[in-house]
């Protein structure tokens, strides 16, 4: 099934996004950037927009082949203010890295160092990438049945050399559970990793070359399950936000763990959802977009909530009952774990990229909500 240009956005057939929990977009060089997999050749590519409304054609990144995925590609991106960074694995394989410069004309300049292959060797998926306060690149990735591994580039360049002591397998991460997140603090040379297993959530903090051991996030472990498809962000005050999907029985749902002076927990909803996350790094205003997937028509929908208080949800679209799970003539969310959100604080608009298995499309909406948000991952 093909999707044509709609009133709310532009359709792209034959693309794929990264799995929820891995960031696929940023704002840089005056443009909005969404990175995606071009299913025609399995290469990683990108589209850009100047207005968050109309988007460019797909540009492939030569040589970056993360593979062809129905559920979600295994890649993440981030922007450090000067350079863009991509990390990917080819279906649970070694982790690769590339630095580039996003240009204002919608092109990228590949770093002369080129693709850095096998920066973490083994069988990995869910790779995530950040840069710390001093510009060093960090990668978090998960090895099936083994656990979470973290590595740090010794160089501030496009050439990857693992710093002393890396890659490092995190403690208490051997349970075979996939949820985790990594964030860099803004006010200290420090990186925080949050991950979990059935015994609870853990946070590890790296401070100026020293690891603070795995800390059980006491008081917030009542959810019972293990985290899935998770995000970790630090705002400008270095408050931490860990958004995940987990729970037991009636407690299955979306949870937001917030650390200011200690960890606290906010239950976002009581259902199983796929999530996307944005935050205003200045005031901590949060945007959470979710899609409800039930496997049955008429009850799937896309929604969002925002604000510091994480109040009520606003429904964007509701399944009208058409098969398979058509929200309206131009929007499908039957694989709702693939979407990304860019919020523009200059024109108060957001773009949501939604994918389905066979059909993918970005949709664009304009809200009256005036929160000054930035895309997740931008410092």
């Amino acid at each position: 099934m093909n999707v044509t240009k709609s009133a709310i956005g532009y359709a792209y057939d034959g693309i794929n996004l990264s799995t929820s929990g891995m960031i696929a977009s940023f704002i840089a060089a005056g443009l909005y950037w969404i990175f995606l997999i071009d299913l025609s050749n399995s290469k990683l590519g990108f589209i850009t927009s100047t207005n968050n409304t109309t988007w460019s054609a797909i540009t492939d990144i030569t040589g970056v082949v993360p593979g062809n995925y129905g559920v979600g590609g295994q890649y993440s991106v981030c922007f450090d203010g000067t350079y863009g960074h991509i990390v990917w694995s080819f279906f649970a394989n070694a982790v690769n890295y590339l630095r580039f410069t996003p240009n204002s004309d919608g092109t990228i300049t590949i770093d002369p160092a080129g693709i850095q292959s096998n920066v973490i060797t083994g069988f990995f998926f869910y790779p995530e990438i950040i840069t710390d306060k001093n510009g060093y690149v960090w990668i978090l990735a998960y090895s099936s049945g083994v656990g979470h591994f973290i590595s740090k580039n010794k160089n501030i360049s496009g050439t990857w050399t693992a710093d002393t002591g890396f890659p490092l397998q995190l403690n208490n991460s051997t349970g075979g559970y996939s949820g985790g997140g990594i964030a860099a603090l803004h006010n200290a040379e420090s990186v925080v990793v949050v991950y979990g297993d059935t015994n609870g959530l853990y946070s590890n903090q790296w401070v100026s070359g020293v690891w603070v051991g795995a800390v059980v996030m006491t008081g917030v472990n009542s959810f019972g399950g293990s985290p899935c498809l998770s995000y970790l962000v630090a705002d400008n005050s270095d408050n931490l936000y860990f958004l995940t999907q987990t729970g037991v029985g009636g407690n299955i749902g979306s949870y937001l763990f917030i650390y200011k002076t200690s960890w606290s927990i906010v239950k976002i909803n009581n259902i199983r959802m796929y999530l996307a996350f944005s935050i205003n790094l200045t005031d901590g205003t949060i945007w959470i977009f979710g899609t409800r997937q039930t496997g049955s028509a008429n009850i799937d929908y896309m929604t969002y909530k925002n604000g510091v208080g994480i109040t009520g949800w606003t429904t964007l679209y509701t399944d009208t009952g058409s098969s398979p799970y058509v929200l309206n003539a131009n929007l499908y969310i039957n694989v709702p774990n693939q979407f990304t959100v860019i919020y523009d604080d200059s024109n108060d608009s957001y773009a949501i990229k939604v994918l389905t298995f066979a059909v993918q499309m970005p949709v664009h909406g304009k809200t009256s909500i005036g929160a000054q948000l930035k895309v997740m991952g931008v410092i």
């Binding site: 929820s20 559920v71 979600g72």
Partner: protein, 349 residues
């Protein structure tokens, strides 16, 4: 002036002398009042006078009279001679003298002497002048040959000795061979191009295939087969064939809906078949995998297939691969898997 004395190496000479008075009439003696008697028994060479060049044995040296074995013209006073060191020198000197004679004969030979050589070199037919005439000939001389070799027409071959220089004709013959439609370079190139390179010698290329996806399924407490989906093979370039076939799987999360601790129970397999063929196992589960707390939502997983199915399935474009979970069974009444996909990694060469 050179004399025979100059030809005798000084190392061979024991005594140089000049006769001080005439010898006997028979010519068998020389008189030299300065000679030492110990020179008897050695060899004397007469270096001047009528008997210059004669060699003889010194029989005796008595009171200045040197008696030699062979007579001849009387040797007067003032004749130079020398006594050689040893008898062996006679042979050396004799050989030299013989060689000199041979050389002289060769040089003066009417057949191959200097005069004969001169006659050859100046011969009007084959002498140097005649050779020069050939080499500078406008038709077949060196300049003509140079022109012919340099000319573009040579590359196309053809011609004969009658119309071209011999060397030029040879070059043309070679050019003919190179350009020959049957066995020339072009024919060889074509033949090489027609060689079929065995597929196992070509580089392997991964051809992306559509993912096989199922949004959600539950593994119940009773064994059953669950169809994950199908993948229609496409994109294999002409002339290449499948060399390796792997299946990987991934799911986003899982939830126990049985109300008790759950996991996979018993042996079960993720299997693949081609069209209507037989299912072959890509992953084998022995039971106990994916432990899930009671009623809990827990993380997903991703696994790379390690079983190369190519020995069982060699798909071509248009083939439909069906993936199913065979004998799926959970310990509890239901273990739900979400966002489950399989990736067919097809390497061709």
């Amino acid at each position: 002036m050179n004399t025979i004395g100059n030809a005798i190496s000084p190392e061979l000479v024991a005594y140089n002398g000049i006769t001080t008075a005439a010898g006997n009439i028979g010519g068998t003696t020389l008189v030299d009042t300065n000679i030492n008697p110990v020179q008897a028994g050695k060899v004397i060479v007469i270096l001047s006078g009528a008997r210059m060049g004669e060699l003889d044995n010194v029989s005796t040296v008595i009171g200045g009279t040197i008696t030699i074995g062979t007579g001849g013209t009387q040797i007067p006073a003032g004749v130079r001679y020398c006594i050689l060191n040893q008898l062996g020198a006679v042979a050396v000197v004799s050989s030299i003298a013989a060689n000199v004679s041979t050389i002289l004969a060769a040089v003066t030979s009417a057949t191959y002497g200097n005069a004969a050589i001169e006659a050859i070199l100046t011969n009007a037919t084959y002498g140097l002048s005649a050779i020069e005439t050939i080499l500078t000939n406008a038709t077949y001389g060196l300049s003509a040959l140079d022109t012919e070799v340099e000319s573009s027409s040579i590359a196309t071959g053809g011609g004969s000795v009658a119309t071209h220089t011999p060397l030029g004709s040879l070059v043309r013959f070679i050019a003919d061979a190179i350009n020959n439609a049957t066995y020339g370079l072009s024919a060889i190139k074509t033949a090489i191009g027609n060689i079929s390179v065995p597929a196992n010698l070509t580089a392997l290329v991964t051809i992306p295939q559509p993912a096989v996806y199922i949004e959600e399924f539950g593994v119940s407490g009773s064994a059953s087969s669950i169809t994950i989906g199908t993948c229609t093979i496409a994109g294999i370039p002409s002339g290449l064939i499948a060399k390796h076939l792997f299946v990987h799987y991934l799911f986003s999360d899982r939830v126990d809906t049985s109300g008790s601790a759950n996991n996979l129970a018993g042996a079960q397999n993720l299997q693949v078949k081609n069209n209507s063929g037989t299912f072959f196992t890509a992953f084998a589960f022995s039971g106990g995998e994916y432990p899930t707390a009671s009623s809990a939502q827990m993380g997903g997983d991703a696994k790379r297939g390690t079983v190369d199915l190519i020995s069982s399935i060699v798909p071509v474009n248009g083939d439909v691969l069906t993936i199913q979970w065979t004998s799926a069974r959970a310990a509890g009444t239901s273990l739900e898997f979400f966002g489950f996909e399989c990736i067919v990694e097809l390497q061709v060469g």
